[in-house]
Assembly symmetry: C2
Homo-oligomer: 109 residues x 2
């Protein structure tokens, strides 16, 4: 993934509603969730939701599979993972961070 593509993904993640949507999809796991499910669960107007979803699909964060009238959405786990890795490796580990954070500031693990 190029720097621009990476920035593109991060930008799409960088919106509260979209982050909420992605979280919901992750929670739904591999079964995914229909657009309508998301809409009802999060209370987002259809047109707004559609807009956000299409942006996430565009950068590859979300995948959609149509089953007749219903459109199922899935998070692209590998993509999310590679973004997390990018942040860890490219932006963190080099001579800092993992070395420097002697007490574990990071939340869980």
């Amino acid at each position: 993934m190029s720097l621009d593509e990476m920035a593109g993904c991060l930008a799409e993640l960088g919106h509260p509603t979209r982050l909420q949507i992605l979280r919901y999809l992750v929670k739904s796991g591999h079964a995914g969730a229909a657009v309508g499910d998301i809409q009802e669960a999060l209370g987002i107007p259809g047109s707004t939701l559609s807009h956000h979803l299409s942006r996430m699909v565009k950068v590859g964060l979300v995948e959609q599979v149509r089953e007749s009238r219903t459109l199922h959405c899935f998070p692209r786990f590998e993509v999310i993972e590679s973004i997390a890795n990018f942040l860890m490796e490219e932006c963190c580990v080099n001579e800092a961070c993992a070395i420097d954070t002697d007490d574990d500031t990071s939340t869980a693990r």
Copy 2:
């Protein structure tokens, strides 16, 4: 960090120029880099650079320490790390990803 704060950080990361800036800062390590260094190294006009830096400072991705005329900038490694962790944990690990990727797609670790 709240979901909104997380989204705020991700949004700031989600700009090619800012991502470049952050990378440069990380490369510079704990010595940090002066605004002028960044400006010269990346060829970004001062006002533009200042704008991007102030955004990153605002969400806590970057810290600045003034030393007379020179303003040194440092990446907040813990913040970057916690974003990476959020993506891994909150958005990835739950019943998917780490479980599902039988061959280790993630580069390091």
